[in-house]
Symmetry: C2
Subunit: 282 residues, 2 copies
């Protein structure tokens, strides 16, 4: 029998992160600088539209400017790249977010690569990934950084723990694995080709779900007392873990919604403020 | 009782790789191009001097030019960087190898980063690491690529297997983990802060030793029938695994010497030829 499970409150962590930004945004404002995040939305995916709107609203509430760039579904890769290039050289823009995923016919990786390193506040470039993997990125990918921020806010130990990451995407599974590794966890990375997934997940003192499949991680996969971090966000506000069943086994767990999501947005805002500060120093 | 252990013959794999290069080097030669690898050695480390010499000799035997650049122990980071910059723009040089490790006072990462992507045949740049991690590098790090080349030469399956990598360095543990992951292995990365290392290694269908500690991996850590790849090369020609004891348990194992080492050198030569071919196309 595990003691009462700690519910990791993403809203609380996000609030405290945003609290810390207020004074920094004020100092920038005193210099006549308003941090500005450009968000790019391509196509008609309603979930993506919602995310972009949430990010824009979060900016506004904090006094960060949000510049919305919207493209139709049939936009070409080169049109998208040209738009990113314009934002790269626009001195009023400090951060650029290209909402993932873009329509199938667009070369998303090429578009991500176009984002200048100074403005890659979402941490999606190849070089940004590697700097993060080697421990010196300015802007680590937001969702992985949010997962670490939650653990740190609750002072959950990472060093020496066995972390099992389910998912290996370039903006989530791979970078969070490298970040946990750099914090001295032993890290196992699983994916769709993993055999005996249940038994591998059972090894985890820390379990990070980054699969993109609703309620995929089962309660009986969780080692009693493990910490469960759910980076999934599927239709209908459902995470990648079977929350009720996993909560029974875990010592701490993030809910969905109000878990990793709000902290991801707070991380994006923090990176945007940092980008503006760095640009002001130049 | 495991059936007779397959000894993975690095010399054989390397020979066949070099065999395939002969014709390509001839075709370049017909165009008046001699592939050229510049090797940079800084300081007096005898092991490093030996490695550089071995690489130079391997070049010569195959008709690849080897340009040796040697610096004294007290060379500064900026002197080293300036030398790399000269090699970057030298049209007769196709690949640049900076022998690791450089003396402590030099910023090795800054030196590695200076190597132009076109000539990073050893796969040591940050961007090269990320391209490799995302599966589209021109020149993956040589030792990790050699490990995969040995597995492929012996048609050892990777997909769905559990690979345990011991070590997390930027040029070995991290890239080989990403390459195994991209080949659909489930990958666990261990290191000095891993608790219960023996039991973690026992999970491995594939065990990659990249620790840099002589005979560190014990025989009773190896799951019967596992494949053991030893990337270690310690003083006195000793690997990172206790070879005799691990061979008893493994279904296949690389010896040291004559295991990963010669294939690493063959990979470096292959990358140099590829770099020359790419430069010729431009």
């Amino acid at each position: 029998m595990v003691a009462e499970t700690l519910i990791l409150d993403g809203n609380r962590v996000a609030s405290s992160m945003k609290e810390e930004l207020i004074e920094r945004i004020q100092r920038l404002s005193d210099k006549g600088i308003i941090p500005c995040l450009a968000t790019i939305l391509v196509g008609d995916d309603p979930a993506s539209a919602t995310y972009v709107k949430m990010k824009g609203n979060a900016c506004k509430r904090l006094g960060i400017q949000s510049k919305r760039v919207v493209f139709p579904e049939n936009t070409s890769t080169s049109e998208l790249i040209a738009a990113i290039q314009r934002l790269n050289v626009d001195p009023s823009v400090h951060g650029i977010l290209l909402q993932h995923p873009v329509p199938q016919h667009i070369d998303e990786r090429a578009a991500f690569e176009t984002i200048s390193m100074d403005k890659d506040v979402d941490g999606v470039t190849t070089l940004g990934f590697a700097q993060n993997a080697f421990g010196f990125a300015d802007f680590p990918s937001c969702t992985p950084a949010a997962i670490l921020a939650i653990m740190d806010a609750y002072k959950l130990p990472i060093e020496g723990k066995h972390a099992v990451v389910i998912g290996r995407s370039p903006i989530l599974g791979k970078p969070v694995s490298m970040m946990l590794l750099n914090r001295n966890a032993t890290v196992t990375i699983c994916h769709s080709k993993t055999t005996d997934l249940a038994n591998i997940v059972r090894l985890g003192d820390i379990v990070v779900a980054a699969v993109g499949k609703p309620r995929f991680i089962q309660g009986d996969w969780i080692k009693p007392g493990a910490i469960v971090l759910d980076a999934g966000y599927n239709e209908g506000n459902i995470g990648d873990v079977d929350y009720v069943a996993c909560r029974e086994k875990a010592s701490a767990i993030t809910p969905v919604p109000a878990g990793v999501g709000p902290v991801t947005i707070a991380t994006l805002l923090k990176h945007t403020v940092e980008a503006a500060e760095k640009m002001a120093e130049r």
